[in-house]
């Protein structure tokens, strides 16, 4: 199996362990990831609030580069905001030819053009549908039995696009978790918003949302995420959220590929575990990372 790979800006900075673990797990599964050459920012949620056309042109630049490298190929995207932005352009140009014309006028400034020949997919979609529980089981080298795991999906990998899972009651992570021998923590917070970018501009609101998720995860050994923004809000603001709620909300938070990688026999070092902001000493000892 071979995919194009769009890491996105966070995976070069605050989410470096998401990049390291995604690449390590894909290699261990025999999947080849081909990084889109000269990729640039997708605009995140900022572009859309400033310029409509820019919010389509920034992702389109990356789609054009991807199409050039492998026409018709699937692009794997670990960041949910990047996924939403790239996917939206693919969907919208099918219905809006004028938009495609404008995008190509902008891309033409760099000698690029786009024709709709890409398929953007979230990393979770690829892990759940193309690899699947069987793909993990077949290559598992270590059982994670005895661990209880809370799958946290967040928003933009499911809504408004997605299609590979239920957008309100997602479950695509569950078979993957069970394939490692671990148990799924039953909860209803998997698709609730963590506050996303409000953590920077309206902190008190985001801290409350994050606190509710952390509280509901109590009883689990760790939370798994599939988005750098969710991860940052859940792992780096535990102290603030605990203070706001007057309660200790400390819990380990890992990226999904980090967890799957452990089952595949990869080491903590292979999976970038040294970069995690919230990994309790108890879980570190238990996982030997």
């Amino acid at each position: 199996m071979r995919y194009l790979y769009y890491p996105g800006c966070s995976l070069e900075g605050t989410a470096v362990e998401y990049d390291v673990s995604t690449q390590a797990v894909m290699t261990a599964l025999g999947v080849e990831l081909q990084e889109i050459e000269d990729w640039t920012c997708c605009g995140a949620s900022a572009a859309e609030s400033v310029s409509d056309l820019l919010s389509r042109a920034l992702p389109a630049r990356n789609l054009a580069l991807a199409e050039q490298m492998n026409p018709g190929g699937d692009i794997v995207i670990p960041c949910s905001a990047c996924y939403l932005n790239l996917r939206r352009v693919e969907v919208q140009i099918r219905e809006d030819e004028a938009l495609l014309g404008k995008l190509n006028a902008a891309l033409g400034e760099e000698g690029l053009s786009y024709h709709g020949g890409t398929r953007s997919r979230h990393l979770l979609d690829v892990l759940a549908k193309d690899i699947g529980a069987k793909g993990i089981q077949d290559r598992a080298r270590r059982s994670l039995e005895g661990l209880r795991v809370a799958p946290y999906y967040g928003c933009q990998c499911l809504r408004p696009y997605g299609g590979y899972d239920d957008p309100q009651q997602p479950s695509s992570m569950e078979p993957l978790i069970e394939a490692t021998g671990a148990e799924v923590h039953p909860w209803t917070m998997g698709a609730k918003c963590c506050g996303a970018g409000l953590m920077t501009t309206k902190k008190e609101v985001a801290v409350e949302l994050t606190g509710a998720i952390l509280r509901a995860a109590r009883g689990a050994d760790c939370i798994l995420t599939v988005c750098p923004m969710c991860q940052m809000n859940l792992d780096s603001y535990q102290g603030v959220a605990s203070k706001a709620q007057g309660d200790d909300l400390t819990i380990s938070v890992l990226y999904l590929p980090q967890f799957l990688g452990l089952a595949l026999g990869l080491s903590g070092r292979d999976l970038g575990m040294g970069s995690n902001m919230a990994l309790t000493p108890a879980l570190r000892t238990r996982l030997d990372v």
């Binding site: 000269d38 920012c41 900022a46 310029s51 820019l54 891309l107 309206k202 609101v205 780096s236 970069s275």
Partner: protein, 189 residues
């Protein structure tokens, strides 16, 4: 007969963006599913349902001075669940763009953060988080603001996830050509 008539009511501002917003919300039946689905609604001065009614009633001043739409985290829950299938989250983004264009939220944190973000993207092609925050702090001109982020910054520095960078404020940018063309196309439309 010569009695002065009362001052005419302030003319509502007309714009294609505002018309598009009203068109999107025209069939809203005020069921409140959006408010029930919104994680931030408790912190809003007007709930999402009230906001959409205000759009229908053309209450522009009240809408643009409220904090409702700046509290949207783009979770798309309301859009997913709206029984009328209205593009609510996208309409919030249009409201943010219109508010910024009209100068309503020039001092608003969200707007300044978005602009700082795009300046960083334009210059380097990719976001460098440390520089983004430096630009944001400079734009906010609030000497206290950075201290709120210091504990996180220290943790991230210690993990080697960010590195100190001095923003380059002049010179050519990686995405200048596309940004310029987009501005030109938007000005023409």
């Amino acid at each position: 007969m010569s009695q002065a008539s009362p001052a005419p009511k302030k003319e509502r501002e007309k714009s294609p963006l505002w018309d598009a917003i009203r068109e999107h919300i025209r069939t809203c039946m005020q069921c409140g599913t959006c408010t029930g689905s919104c994680g931030s609604s408790a912190a809003m001065d007007f709930t999402p349902r009230q906001l959409w009614r205000m759009v229908q009633l053309d209450l522009q001043d009240e809408i643009f001075t409220s904090r409702t739409f700046s509290l949207c985290s783009s979770c798309y829950y309301c859009t997913l669940r709206c029984p009328r299938g209205l593009p609510l989250t996208e309409t919030i983004h249009t409201l943010k763009r219109l508010a910024a264009a009209r100068g309503f939220t020039g001092k608003e944190k969200g707007t300044r953060f978005y602009r700082s973000f795009l300046k960083t993207a334009r210059r380097y092609g990719r976001i460098r988080e440390m520089e983004l925050m430096t630009r944001y702090f400079l734009a906010m001109k609030d000497p206290i603001l950075p201290f709120g982020f210091t504990p996180l910054g220290v943790k991230l520095l210690r993990k080697g996830k960010i590195s100190p960078q001095i923003p380059r404020l002049s010179g050519p940018g990686k995405l200048d050509a596309i940004f310029r063309k987009v501005e030109e196309l938007e000005a023409g439309s």
